[in-house]
Symmetry: D2
Subunit: 341 residues, 4 copies
Amino acid sequence: MSGNSFGDALKITSFGESHGVALGCVLDGVPAEIRISAAEIQLELNRRRPGQSKITSPRDEKDRVEILSGIFDGRTLGTPIALLIRNSDARSADYSKIKNIFRPGHADFAWEKKFGLRDFRGGGRSSGRETVARVAAGAVARKILDSRKIKITAFAKEIAGIVGEKFDPKNISKNLVRAADSAAAKKMESAIIAAKNSGDSVGGVIEIRIQKCPAGLGAPVFDKISARLGAALFSIGGVKAVEFGAGFGAAKLRGSEMNLRGGGIAGGITDGSEIVVRLAVRPTASISLPQKAVDSRGKIRKIQISGRHDPCLVPRIIPVAEAMVALVLADFLLASRLDRI
Amino acid sequence: MSGNSFGDALKITSFGESHGVALGCVLDGVPAEIRISAAEIQLELNRRRPGQSKITSPRDEKDRVEILSGIFDGRTLGTPIALLIRNSDARSADYSKIKNIFRPGHADFAWEKKFGLRDFRGGGRSSGRETVARVAAGAVARKILDSRKIKITAFAKEIAGIVGEKFDPKNISKNLVRAADSAAAKKMESAIIAAKNSGDSVGGVIEIRIQKCPAGLGAPVFDKISARLGAALFSIGGVKAVEFGAGFGAAKLRGSEMNLRGGGIAGGITDGSEIVVRLAVRPTASISLPQKAVDSRGKIRKIQISGRHDPCLVPRIIPVAEAMVALVLADFLLASRLDRI
Amino acid sequence: MSGNSFGDALKITSFGESHGVALGCVLDGVPAEIRISAAEIQLELNRRRPGQSKITSPRDEKDRVEILSGIFDGRTLGTPIALLIRNSDARSADYSKIKNIFRPGHADFAWEKKFGLRDFRGGGRSSGRETVARVAAGAVARKILDSRKIKITAFAKEIAGIVGEKFDPKNISKNLVRAADSAAAKKMESAIIAAKNSGDSVGGVIEIRIQKCPAGLGAPVFDKISARLGAALFSIGGVKAVEFGAGFGAAKLRGSEMNLRGGGIAGGITDGSEIVVRLAVRPTASISLPQKAVDSRGKIRKIQISGRHDPCLVPRIIPVAEAMVALVLADFLLASRLDRI
Amino acid sequence: MSGNSFGDALKITSFGESHGVALGCVLDGVPAEIRISAAEIQLELNRRRPGQSKITSPRDEKDRVEILSGIFDGRTLGTPIALLIRNSDARSADYSKIKNIFRPGHADFAWEKKFGLRDFRGGGRSSGRETVARVAAGAVARKILDSRKIKITAFAKEIAGIVGEKFDPKNISKNLVRAADSAAAKKMESAIIAAKNSGDSVGGVIEIRIQKCPAGLGAPVFDKISARLGAALFSIGGVKAVEFGAGFGAAKLRGSEMNLRGGGIAGGITDGSEIVVRLAVRPTASISLPQKAVDSRGKIRKIQISGRHDPCLVPRIIPVAEAMVALVLADFLLASRLDRI
C-alpha cells in the first residue's frame, strides 16, 4: 500500500513535494477519443491555486499545467495522461529554522516516525499542495462524467460556526468563500479575515451535491459508493468527518422516518436520485500565533510559524473535493460497463 | 472494481448470499507462523451472530466456522486462509411474496438497476449477513495486532437518542446493547424493545477507541489511515457518517484550539496516541409496520415485511466495525515493514 | 503480493492445500446474467482430475464442485462465485516419513526458507493439486468467451521427445495423452508407460491455439496480451518455457521474413488472427526411483518417494493451461469495454 | 487493467509517447533512506539510449533524466519518485506520409482497432521508446537489490543465428552487441551491419543470469517468480519467447535427470542458487526494404519506411531486460518482509 494511487478502472498516481521541483500525476484508464484541452484543466487549477484572493495563502503559484502525454490532436489516446505542475514560488528558507521542530497539528512527527526522514520544506509531500495533482486529474475525470451530464456542486456550508442556509448554486462563484448563500458568505469572509488578523485560523463544513448520477454505480460489498467517496474525501488533508444524507442525524431517526427519505444511495449503490455529502474541515494547523512544539530531541520549544498559509482551508478544498468526487464517479461509471454480460 | 476484496498487504475476499448455500472469505497475506484456532474465530462470530438475545433477529444461525485452508497444526502457513460459514436457518419462503417489490430503504431497486437481476431471498448479497465473513477474517487480523498489543474497543455511544456519557470498557460485554455506560445501556435496551414492539426500528452511534497503535501507520496521500478506516466503516451497510477525533466539532474550533488536541492521526499517519472514531448507524430498514413501496412495474404498493430482523443494528455492527478496523490496522502494520530500506 | 489472486476485471482468488480440507476459489468480476450450471464446471474438472486413466496418478479424487455463491436460478448474479472442491482421498500417511526431507525438484526447501514452516503432506499448497481451482474458474471464464465464440484448443505437441506433426483437433479427446496427432499419441502413451515402469518420468510441450479472438485485446505497455498469457502459463507448476508464434525461432529470422508472418499479436494487442502459444513442461519431479536429497539438518540422505504421481504432467496440465488462457482472455474481453468513451 | 503499471510492493507507472512531449514514470513503494543520485540513473539510461553506436538508431536523444520528486538531499523520502525524460530529437514529419498505413509487424492496426485512433508519429506509445522509463526506474530498483548484493547480468547470447558459447561478463561492455563472448561479438556485429546495409534487420537471444538472489522470493501460486519475470520480459516489445533454466530442453529430459539440475527456482520460489533466463527477440519490424502494407481503407499498398531504426533490438533491449528483472526482484525482496509474523 504505497498510498499514491487512487482508483481502479480510472486510476490517478500522484507525486511531488511542496517545495520540490514539481507536482503532478499520471491518470491511467481514461478511454480514448475524449476531446480535452489544457485550458480546461487550467480552469480547475485556477480555482484551487494559492494567491487568488485576500483570504488565501499569498504564495504566488501560477500552477500552469503541462500535458506530457496521452493527448494528441485534442483527443485522449487511451494511454496514460501525465500532467505536470512546476513549483515556482517555493521559499524553502522560511522552513530551515523549524527543520528540527515538529509543528503542532502537522504531520511532521508522524512522518518522521514512519520514514526516518522528511522533506521539512513546507511539509514536503504532507503539504496540502499535493492536491494540485488531484484537481488536474479531476478536470479530466469530469470530461467522462460530462458524457452522462453528471453534475457535482460543492460549496461552503459552514465556516467559523456561520451556517449558510440558502442554496443558490449561482452564488458560489460570486464570493470568496464559495458559499451558496450570499448573506452568510459575507459573514464567513469577515470571520476568516478576523481569524487571520489575530494570527489564528478557522474550520468549516463543505457540502457536495451530486446530480443526475445514473442508478447502479457502486460495487458491493467493500466498494460501496459511500465507501469510495468516504475514502476519497478523508484522503484530503484536514478532513475530520464525512456524512451522507441524514448522516449523524440518522442515528436519531426511526426506520419508518428514514425509509421515507431517499439519499441517493441504497446498499452502497446509487439509485438515481440526488446524493448529498458533507465533510468537516479542521482549522488550518499553520497559524502565526506563538505555540509550543516538540523538537527532534523531545524538548518542548516555543515556535512561531512564518510561511504563507490559508486562514481557512474550506474555499480551496472545495475544488479538491469536487475533483475527488469526479474521480470516484468516473471510475464507477466506467466500471459499470462490466456489470452485465 | 469488483468490490468483494478489501486490503492490500492483507486482503479479504468475501463471498456469499444471505439465503444461499454459504458465506465466507479468503484472507490472503497472513504471515506464516501465527498460532490460531477455529475457537478463536468462533468467539468473534458468536458476538455477531443473530439469535443471541431478545433485541437481535431471531434467525437461528449458529454461524459455525470451518477453516478450509491456510492453517496446519495450529499455525498459519503463509497461504490463503479460507473460512466457511454455512447458512442453516434460511427461510426463503418469507421472501417469495415480495419478489417483485423493492423494499423501502433497501438495496433492491439499485441492485436490480445495476445487475438486471437479484437474489431476492433476504436481499441476497446486499444483506447484512455478508458481514459474517468480515468478522471471521477480523478475528485472524487481530492475531497480527496482538503481536504489538494493539487494542480495539467499540461500543454503543448512542441509541435512539440516548447517549452514554461514561466510558467503562468492562461494561460493554455486560449489557445487550454493548454500551460502555451501564445506566444508559438500560435505557437504550428499553428504547429498542419499544421500537420493536411498535413495528419500528432505531439507529445510533458507535464509538471505537484504538489504543497502543504504534506511530507511523498510514500511507500518504490517498491511503491515509483515516481514508482506509473511513472506507472500511462506510463499507458496512447502514453506516451514514464517520468522524475522527473532534469530527464535525472541528469545524467550529480555531486552529490554536485544535492544535492542542491530539487525535492520534496527523497527516493521515498514526502518531502513537489514542484514536477515536465514531460512526452513525441508520435505523434498520426492515420494519414490520406497513409501508408504501414501488414494484418492478413502477406501481406504488403497500407492503408489510415479515422476515426476521434486528430492531437496532448497533449491537451487531459493533463486532463488525471492530473487525474492519482490525483488518485495516493489520494491513498497515504489515505494510509498515516496507517503509525504510 | 500475496500471490493467490490473478486477473483484474475478472479475478480468481484461490485457496487450499493438497491434503487439507478442501481447495477452491472465489471468482470475482463475472458479469450478471450468464447462464451456467455446476455440470458445466464439473465437465472441465473431470478432464483434469486424477485417476482418469492408466497414465495419470491413481489418487482417486472425484473433484466434485460445489457452487457456494454467485449463481441463483441458473444465472450469475454479478456477485463473487465461490467454488469448493473437497479433498477426499488424501493419504497423508504417505508423507510423514519424508516430513523432514526436501524432495529433489520440489518446492520443499524453497518453501521452508520462505515461510519457516510448511504443510509437508503432499507438498501442501505447492502441489499441482491447487490447479483444480483454476480449472473450475476457467469453466466460468469460458462462458464469457462463448458470447464471442472465442475458441481455445490445447494439446500435447511433444512428449518424451516424440513430436506430433499433424493437427486434427478431433483427435485430442480420443487419446489419453491429448495429442492432436493420433499416430504420435500412441507412441507418446507408450513412452509414458515405459518411464512409469522404470520409476521415472517424462516432460513435453503443449501447444495452445486461440481462434476467433477479436482484435484489440491487450493493455500496453505492461499488460500486453503476451505478458498476461506468459504470466498465466508460467504460474502453472512445472512450466519452464513459453513462446508465441515463431517463438525462439524468431531469433533466427530476418525482419523481412518475420513481417510476413502474422502471429495474432502486434504490440501486445490481438490483431484478430489466430494466436499460437507453446509451453514446455518439465518431467514430473516425483519419481519412485531412489534419489539423493537434503534433509532439514543439511544432511544428504537417500529417499524413495511413494505417494501417487503422474509419470507425465502434460495430459493433465492441458485443461489447466486452457483454463488459464480462458481467464486471461475473458479478463481482457471485459476490460476492452473500457477502451473508448 | 490499464496496463501502464507494473509491480506490487514496488510499482512503476509509466507514461509517454515516442514523439510526444516527454516520457517518464512514477516509481512508488521505494523505501525511505536509500542514497541515490541522478547520475546513477543517467548511467543506465546511457546504456539504452539511441545514437550510441553505429549499430543503433541514429535518433539523437540525450535522454537526460530529471528527478521531479521523492528524493531530497540525496536520499529517498519514501514518497513516489517521478522521473522525466523529454523528447528532443523527434522528427514527426518522417511519419506523416504513413499516417494512414498500418506498418507490417507493427502495432498500428491492432492499436487502431483497440482505441479507434492513435498517435501515428513513431508509433506513439507502441514504440520501443517507452522503455526509457523502465530503465530509469530499474536503476532505482537496483539500489534496493544492492542492499543484498543481488547481481543481474544480461548479454547477447545469440544474434542472427550466431551463438556466443563463452561467458566472460567482463566482455559485455567491451563490444557493441553486448555479448559475453568476444569472438562471437565480432561476427554478430558484422551480421547486424550486413542486415542494415541490405535494408533488413535481425533478431537474437538474450540471456540473463541472476546471482546471489536469496532463497524465498516468489509468491505462490500465481505470482511465482517465473510468472512475474515472464510477464516482465514478455512486456518488452519484440520478445517472443522466455525460458528458465533447461527451458524447452526440459521437455526432453527424464525426471531423474531434471531433478539433478538446480535452476534457482522451485515451486515458483527462489532457492538461493543462480537463475538463468533466456528471451528471444524478433528482428526489428521497421526495415527500409520496400514492403506491402494495408492502409486504413483496407487496400494493399507498397511502403518504404524511412524513420531511424535499430537493425537489431538485442543490444538495446539488454539494459531494458535488466531493468525489468531488477524491478521484479526488488518487488519480491520487499514483499518477503511480510512472509512471517
